[in-house]
Amino acid sequence: MKRFATMSRRTALRGLGATIALPFFDSLLPRAAAMAARPMRLVFIYAPNGKHMPDWTPEVEGTGLQKLPPTLKPLEKVWEHVVVHSGLAQRTADPGTDGPGDHARAMATFLTGVRPHKTSGSDVRVGPSVDQAAAAVLGKDTRLPSLEVGCEAGKPAGTCDNGYSCAYQTNLSWRTATVPMPKEIDPRLVFERLFGDRTGPDADVAVAKRERDRQSVLDFVAEDSQQLRRSLGGSDRQKLDEYLTAVREVETRIRSAQPATDIGQTKLTRPSGVPENYQEHARLLAELIALAFQADLTRVATFVLGNDGSNRSYREVGVAEGHHDISHHGGDPVKFKKLSTVNRFHVSQLAYLLERMKAIPNGDSSLLDRCLVVYGSGISDGDRHNHDDLPVLVAGGGLRGGCHVRHRANTPLCNLYLALLDRVGVKADRFGDSNGRLPSLSG
């Protein structure tokens, strides 16, 4: 249950408090040293319900910006790493002949550039998403090919946006056209996936035995599935293939994953669950992403600050109304102000992650220099539900930042993704509805 409560700065940082080392890393030091080549990472962050665009878009193009627009203000300390991209569009989210359902489409298309098949139940189809395209290459050697986290779970009841299955509105990342990568909400579970069973004495021995057992269990079920598969047809076979692919992937991962990189002492303790406070929750997840990158447990992450259409209220920053309710502002200046406040609050979570990564050394630079961060929404104006001139920015990755680029109107967002994949060394000539590659990620 999420209720409002006033909170002090102290509460916000609880859970990041005590210092406990993660002992398993020490034993892996020598091998970690062999991993000298510093890999590139990617993280995609999604914020729901569009933005109040006048407070987001910088007044001038290029680097000559005197003052950051109100929504981007929290990025002041890392502005030199940030490039704002205006004019990009995700037209596959337009209604077309599918009618209403812009929130579901906004979320489903943001990383895919594929028009989702409109269905409430059967035959869900959209992806794959760009993070998964990257993970197929970057994630080959890491314990987890990719990490999916978010601050908001799926809807516990009721139908979703105007005839779209909830799968479209809760998943940002799609492994294939039909298999979404569900996000982890609970920081404790993220922690356990990353480090959990690898702490404590005898961890290595226990892990080795467990992985041997897992191998034989997975061999058995793969054989089982093969036999079953022969007697199935159509969608049944497709479902089983989903399962079998996942089984094989876990198998491969157990067999060939590289050990984690030593990160020494960390201040993070095992989180106890989902914090009631939104900011505390978001920061804990950001912290875990940074740690996962630092330890090289994964190189690709997606982070959902809220599902599109989310009606969460942000009492922490004085907005009691639901976010979706106020995003239908109808031109009301009071609602503009509240929207802007929520937008800025989301951006400050991004700022936290960027600052955090900037503080983590990586070779002769920082983790931030080796990590490209995309932040944005699949809707521009929450009242109009338009999917052009989207609020999008790219940060880190050694980009020359501190600037604002405006692209020709309706340039596909997927053109940016092609440039992004290029930069992290993943070959692709087309992605989603791309019709070219952005010549550069910075100005």
Partner: protein, 696 residues
Amino acid sequence: MQVFHAFKSGPGSNVMGRGRLALGLAIAMVVFVGIGMSLFRPLYRADNGMAGPTSESDIDGELDEVPREGKSPSFTAEVAPILTQYCAGCHSEDHAEGGFVLVSYPNDATAAKDTEVWQRVAAMVPSRRMPPAGHPRPSQKELEVIAVWLDQAAGRTVDPGRVTMRRLNRAEYNNTIHDLVGVTFNPADDFPADDSGDGFDTIGDVLSVSPTLVEKYLTAAEAVVNAATANPSIWKRITTPPEQDYIPFVLRGMPPQRADAVKGLRETPDPEAATRAAEIDRAYYALQAFADRAYRRPITHAEMYRLMRFVDMSINRGEGPDEGLKLALKAILVSPHFLFKVEQGPRTVDDAVSPLSDFELATRLSYFLWSSMPDEELYRLAASRKLREPRTLIAQVRRMLKNPRSHALAEQFAGQWLQTRALTEVARDTVLYPGFDAELVQAMRTETDMFFDDIVKEDQSVVELLTADYTFANERLARHYGIAGVSGTNFRRVSLAGTGRSGILTHASILTVTSGPTRTSPVKRGKWVLENMLGAPAPTPPPGVDGLKDDHAVKPATIREQLERHRSRAECAACHARLDPLGFGLESFDAVGARRERDGESPIDASGLLPDGRTFRGPAELAAVLAERPEDFARCLTQKLLTYGLGRSLKAADWRAVDRVVRHAARNHYRFSSLIFAIVSSDPFMRRHNQPEEMR
């Protein structure tokens, strides 16, 4: 067909000539049991009078499986003129509203062949979803003509549909593990949330499997087996083979090949070898019994052979049989046969449509009513092929509904249908609603759960859901409702007399989930009533026109006034004329479901209007108005139950099944068990199409 006639003229036929015989069942029985099955005769029949249900035995054990009564109408002479008058305006080739076109046919026979068109008409027209409100509608008599024609002429080919093989969802996984192993923790709480479709998380198509989930399955299997090992009584139960195997030998396929090794051991004089043989035997039969239950069908000899490799391996390693047994148990819990509800039907049947196997039927039943695996009684009935006998089936439905496990219907089905599960996500402004806290939210959820469970366990009429003059409350909730004399945290049955409340429409849980953080939302409430009580899809807003403006020169005093203005905009009017007036009727309750006389400074106006033009004042009257047409409400509930129980979206071809459930329920005072019995006896529930849709 012959069988059908034979039954009809036998002692089973009834005087009214309705011949309520289960054609689908008859075919199924021929396939399975042979013609020798003659116990098919009518059970008990309810009066058609209005008296309430009296005893358990008066539920009708048969279904309407023959066409509606009445002379078969002529399409060209009787049906076509009605369609021309009411439908052709929008569904002509020129307008093609909703992409649906009605054309004229040269004669009756040609018309009847156009089954796809008639399935859609059948899904929309008799349930009054079409023509839409505000347009002239056929009279009851005209509707009856259409319904009879549809039933007799069109849609003769019955397509029971095909459910995509679905995995267990989180609740089902937890319950199944409890029932299968006996551990009490909930491993699936750590799984990623299940996606839902059509409002339910049982829909096979949207329940996907990601690598993350497979990792969690592995972790959960390890945790479950470790917990079982650590508990001596559980471990003893699992490792002690049952006295005898009641599964007919033939159901296990080809005989085992492993016997040789054991035989070799047994025949040596070495006592150590004999002990080892006994140990292997024990492991074999213990695993077989566990796998039978885990796979919800007899495990085959061939499968056992492969499972025993784990045991062989650990013996060869010198770790003893138990290590291998544990690993085999883990493997079972990660196997697709455990994680998915696999349905293949009897493999020998080449027909397009075939009945589910007895075990598959038991599985559908138990997951529908219990969200868990079949218990031993169901399992034995499936093994002896008795489960699909109507008399057995109705007894099992009753037994299962009385069983505490049927609480899953309240928690999982009603929690999603009524959306009370969404209470966990509800936030309220603590300044506006100072009393709103975790304790109250919990009480709200408990009230609706207990109330629904009471309807199920007491087998009451489902109309009571709308009109009950009682509910369940503890002190906290009673205070919220202004009911005196309830103290303590325990819930008990209380009267709603004098509170202005009646049935679920006035439960605080529902009034809360249909409101926003700072105010009520008549639009959301109207949409909720339309979708979940009337089964009519709510109209959807065009982009850029929804949302309330506050920028008028004179601020509107109430939400109602704001919405009235909203509706004065032409582009909003058409849809909101259906939504808002329904929600207005609930305005006498605030955003946390407390009674109120005023919204801000202004008095509440709780007068409302239904899409069909009937008016009401306040929620109790709305409930009463809805209850005037119990068949509409029962149809809506049937559609929801069928979607949830089958785990797939309903299709136009399902209208016949839905229609029959409603008619059966109507004859049985809408008792909850009569809906359930009719649903589980229906074609879509009992049978499946052998061809995937895309390959037909």
